[in-house]
Symmetry: C2
Subunit: 416 residues, 2 copies
């Protein structure tokens, strides 16, 4: 169920291209290597580096329990933005719940990279994903870092993409090319899901680069806005990892005057970044554990956007609804129930629900509908649910997948 | 996995007996009949009646979308308590999302019962559970009511228990006998789950009777307290039905002076009621759709009881945790993750987690533990998780079941 890129309802989709692996924007290099953290013979460490310390922004998990790498990154960028030179990410071990040793190891990864590329420790971000509760094999990691630094190149190829993966079944990348005046620029991103956990906790890590010059504060602002409608609008099972991270870097290689939130180029840059994040988020959901369908739950007419989000998530996280989608059952009762149980205000007599564009529930009552048409929609891979609460102007669209037997199998049969 | 009754950690469990069907406390009669709402040849309508209008209390779903019977019951007991003569419950059709016709039909059910037993419409409660969005077959229901009234008896036998069931696989009942001074009294209850939905929405309905005299306000207060630690402490899949209802009736047949919250007998009555509710809640979870294990998640040391409840529910509702339990995997990472994502305050460095009494996580770090012992515990049917947040005195215990492939099968393959 690899998704055709840019099939969303976004007016800017024409600026996008998707490839298996991408040329990095100017000013960046990357590499992915095998260093033996994972038992399988696959890449398990990747480095993304800028040619110099460049504006960087990071968003990290809202889970109160965080891995040592998250703690390290927050110390590097305490306000979420600043300047960084590189990020090193390993898979196979998340360095979570590893106490003080874990923090020392995260810092040691940064120091090793810093030493080899001639940067400050405080300019190196660190990410780890994989099993929790185990100490990092630092000998292997040091060798891996050495090897990765030696093989940095200008393409985010399969080795880079795989280096950050855990149980992902597909590599995930997206690139947007657009213009500000006559100057063309690129925003490129790679991501790992979430298949959704394995081995232990799901981790979503995404690394985004652009060749534009953007101030750190503006980069952070754009990243927050893009994440709100992409990575923060997806849900596979309502669980939140201790290691989730989205990091963005702006090399300035195109030579523009640094973009701020008031620059003429702001809108074009923010739109391109949002497109890349939306594409990556979609790829993450499509590769959710056991997912067979991608489900968009669009709420409008809520009292405000915050309530629209609560309502959308109540539906998108409802196991009953997700099972119904898996079974292609037009069970609008479960949608109505999920809306009703949410903390968002609902007036049943004003509520309208559509599946695949067909109204099945209006003003408190189920409607006669074309069951064949709805069944056909639900048998596809792209499911759309629209709910109008008719109470205000709040809106939010959540993206999720169905709940399948395969999800249970993956998560019950995996052994810690 | 029918549970042996009273295996909880409750000091009062010696007062309890469980039977497949129960003798009703004095002053009540009941019956269950087949009236053809369901396609299968099974009971689908039950009536519980008091000999006269007696103190009654009701708690109804918190879902904003409610069925017509809930709306009717709230008009009968707007403050949650008052006097009632009887309740009629049908299964096979929940009379939800049926508009004004639905409300007329709920009222018509009450009127029919009232007429036959010589009571006021406003003294008759109504419950419905089953498919949503379909009009009640009122002809069949009227005939069913006539038949049920004609066959009222003093036992809550299988016919009564089955009359309120949907996809439940077991009949559910509990009875407590205790004393206030020399006077013995009985609290008896029956319930339906939640298998967890089928056909459309889960509905939890429980009817409780006692032969004590209790004022309506005291009955309501005791019912609220008992429900908080029983029916409101269970979760199968975080979904909340539009029809959930717990109703209690006090006949006063034992001839005591009506109990208030200040009476000497209050504690004994409230304890007996709580025991019956706890037993029924446990039976509901044990019969959750696809459940193979019963899981108790006990939180202590939260900043307050409200946060303890939030934390307990975060774990009990986590699909990843529930899958791990299904697979008997000692995956404490998922417990820590669920606590961390909750809105309850957690300090990872103070957090302690036990599975089956064995400490596996302490002060932010996983511990070496006796894996054989924990695996043996997880392979059983009664799973216990204890988390001490070490932040205060708040506590709450949630009861849930595991998430199995069978749950998905039931909920994906059912067709509306």
């Amino acid at each position: 169920m690899t998704k055709q890129f840019g099939t969303g309802n976004n007016p800017e989709e024409n600026i996008m291209v998707k490839k298996r692996h991408i040329s990095l924007p100017g000013g960046f290099t990357a590499s992915g290597v095998k260093c033996g953290i994972k038992a399988a013979d696959v890449e398990d460490l990747a480095i993304l580096a800028a040619d110099k310390a460049v504006p960087a922004a990071i968003l990290t998990t809202q889970n109160q329990l965080v891995g040592a790498p998250i703690t390290w990154c927050r110390s590097v960028l305490p306000r979420g933005h600043g300047r960084c030179r590189a990020i090193v990410v390993n898979s196979g071990n998340s360095n979570v719940c590893t106490g003080k040793t874990g923090l020392r190891n995260a810092k040691a990864m940064a120091s090793r990279v810093a030493e080899l590329i001639g940067a400050k420790d405080q300019h190196i971000l660190v990410g780890s994903t994989g099993v929790i509760g185990h100490r990092l094999p630092m000998g292997k990691i040091r060798q891996g870092i050495d090897k990765a630094i030696a093989s940095l190149g200008t393409s985010a190829d399969d080795a880079v993409l795989r280096g950050i993966m855990t149980t992902d079944t597909h590599e995930k990348s997206a690139v947007a090319k657009a213009h500000i005046g006559r100057r063309s620029f690129t925003v490129a991103g790679i991501a790992k899901g979430s298949g959704m956990i394995a081995p232990n906790l799901a981790t979503m890590i995404s690394l985004i680069t652009t060749d534009l010059a953007v101030t750190p504060a503006a980069l952070y602002k754009a990243l927050r806005a893009a994440t709100a409608v992409s990575f923060n609008a997806i849900t596979i099972d309502s669980d939140t990892s201790t290691s989730d991270m989205v990091a963005a870097f702006a090399s300035g290689a195109v030579g523009n005057k640094p973009i701020t939130a008031k620059s003429p180029g702001w809108t074009a840059f923010a739109a391109a970044l949002e497109q890349v994040c939306r594409s990556l988020a979609r790829q993450v959901v499509a590769d959710g554990e056991g997912a067979t369908k991608l489900v968009e739950v669009a709420i409008r007419g809520a009292r405000n956007d915050a309530e629209a989000e609560i309502a959308a998530r109540a539906v998108a996280d409802s196991p009953l609804f997700k099972c119904a989608v898996n079974g292609a059952d037009p069970n609008w009762g479960r949608i109505a129930m999920a809306l009703g149980k949410s903390a968002a205000r609902i007036a049943p007599e004003k509520l309208n629900i559509k599946i695949g564009g067909v109204t099945i529930f209006a003003r408190g009552t189920g409607r006669n509908f074309d069951a064949t048409k709805v069944a056909k929609h639900l048998s596809g891979q792209d499911i759309r649910v629209d709910c109008d609460l008719h109470l205000g102007r709040g809106q939010f669209t959540a993206l999720t997948c169905d709940l399948s037997r395969q999800y249970v199998t993956i998560n019950a049969d995996y052994h810690t």
